[in-house]
Point group: none
Chain length 198, copies 4
Amino acid sequence: MKLKNKKQLILEAAFEVFSNKNYANARVEEIAEKAGVGKGTIYEYFQSKAHLFLEMHKWQMEEYLARMEKGLSREASPSENIYMLIKNHTLFTKKFNNIAGRLVDEVGFNTEFNKEHRQVMLNTYKRLLSRVKEILDTGILMGEFRHMDSQLVADVLFGTMGGISHAMILSGNKQDVEEVSRTITDLLLNGMLNKRSM
Amino acid sequence: MKLKNKKQLILEAAFEVFSNKNYANARVEEIAEKAGVGKGTIYEYFQSKAHLFLEMHKWQMEEYLARMEKGLSREASPSENIYMLIKNHTLFTKKFNNIAGRLVDEVGFNTEFNKEHRQVMLNTYKRLLSRVKEILDTGILMGEFRHMDSQLVADVLFGTMGGISHAMILSGNKQDVEEVSRTITDLLLNGMLNKRSM
Amino acid sequence: MKLKNKKQLILEAAFEVFSNKNYANARVEEIAEKAGVGKGTIYEYFQSKAHLFLEMHKWQMEEYLARMEKGLSREASPSENIYMLIKNHTLFTKKFNNIAGRLVDEVGFNTEFNKEHRQVMLNTYKRLLSRVKEILDTGILMGEFRHMDSQLVADVLFGTMGGISHAMILSGNKQDVEEVSRTITDLLLNGMLNKRSM
Amino acid sequence: MKLKNKKQLILEAAFEVFSNKNYANARVEEIAEKAGVGKGTIYEYFQSKAHLFLEMHKWQMEEYLARMEKGLSREASPSENIYMLIKNHTLFTKKFNNIAGRLVDEVGFNTEFNKEHRQVMLNTYKRLLSRVKEILDTGILMGEFRHMDSQLVADVLFGTMGGISHAMILSGNKQDVEEVSRTITDLLLNGMLNKRSM
DNA sequence: GATGAATGAGAGTTCATTCAT
DNA sequence: AATGAATGAACTCTCATTCAT
């Protein structure tokens, strides 16, 4: 089981380094150092820097997905699930410098990643999105949410979460996760309009 | 009779190249070629690649700001202004591959850009945010929007717009701007909850 | 007479810049700025940077030669002339960062200067040397100096003067010219040996 | 079984190239070629071209110092030691195009070399000088040399040796080392004056 | 004649990748 | 399997020189 350990070690080191630098600025040697292995060893487990990035990315998306699932439950109300979604995302973002969000652009705009790479990544995103859509659809079905284009709203919800990341990075990461999550959930659920004025 | 200022020509070429590649992958020579000038000429107008990027970025932020202002008016209702905001952002994003969003990460995570650079960028963002906050505050004051932490909501609104960009890129940029903007505005204004069920 | 003035202006600026940097580090633009002319103007008067250097060098050698002649006289004793030689050289060196010495190496080892250039320079040096040799020969003829290979001694004397420059630069240029010159002259005239012990 | 340490190989190549060109004209790639290594390899062993130059310089100064010590002995008379000094220096100079002398200027006037670099170099020179001064002081103590400012004379002697280099280079390096050394030693020991005329 | 904007050859340097050990 | 010394392609940037004005 040593082999699996070493590969995992490299993936973790890669994640750490790619989180703090962007793809181009991250040096393979730094990843090797952080993983405690030789530079050449990385090429035993990964074809190239791009492949390492890609595998790390896939792994992180799984991690992220698992994290998002945490706290979600069929018993909880869709609204509560939405809150958990936002909270978990915000926690994840805060912890890892919004790596998830940044990775999208990285893969999307770096010519080193070919079509195939991009497809792999897109598929992972689609899985994420379909999970969000599922929650929305459940809410609609239960009558808790009004009728809406759940696909588009899932996109937006997902996007909003990404946006929170930007906001948090820009504001210097100083905000309280619970409070931010509450406010955002409230906003998304109830909207901005003053109901009494209607 | 120069048709165009050469500095502007370079900025535009830089924008084009940086939009399609990321900072590290963009080659100075390619920018020069696209601008129709010699490699050295770029260094006549900009100290370094990083400075070129920064100036291009500042210019684009102004452009973006101007674009966002378009269609906003004191006479229009705050809700209509929110719609315009979202629509304009979506248009801009669609047109320019979400460069604005990506630039944030670029500057935020690239060690080549020092504190001073980041400050410059942050200031532009703050101007944008304060404009959004102004619209929100007007809405609150007019009683159209309910009472809320307008600062945080501005962050989120701004973030959401950024998020839309991601969504559009992921979905391959095929969506209709008007429709997307309508749906999102509606979502933000009225929320997701089914009012009748309350 | 304006033309001559401008050429001279450039030569003087070149001298100043080449004195403080070496050939490669001296920028043509800096010379132009110091001369108060445009960069292109330099190329009106000189074929290339190398030619500018060369002409500046020739001019400085003349200047140096003239400086060395100053104070020399047929009436003065050869010993006094030797003293003047050393003193003038030391003064010149101190004033101009040993540019004369450095120029030798510059021209001697820089492949940008071809054979012809080197010959021009060598000729100037030979004139200098023959002047020193003349003084020595006069001293020998007058019986003040003992019989010796005046050609070689001229080389050495000239070399010694160059060496003083190095010493002065290394020691930070703090020494008193009069005193140094006296000591050296005394050394060269009387030698190091203790005569009484013989 | 490496025949030679690779770092040493590079240093030797650097020495050869820097001896024939000056710092600015010497290309790193040429050094690499001469060393039989790739361009990148040089940067495995040295931080930069400037650092390579500096280390090469330090190494050469040690080499020079060792060369100078050769043939010197406590048993030999100070005069003989002076002769050895001059002869060894002349040999070294002749062999290596007066690189020692030229390096002084290189380091002294090239802004790429900072204060710290210069200090390192100065210290090596001071060691050289103190060795020369020691010989002089011994001679004075033994009564063979007359009383004199040994510090200044060491400077001059050292300078003279540097000067010989110039002379040899100018004269095309054709002179006989033994003869030149004899003449110079004689000049320094006995002076130029005709004793009988006093 | 005088200029300086424009140029591009050529330099130093980095770093993903290879391969002998 | 694991390594890291060695590599060279590819990059940014400088600056002598040109030439349209």
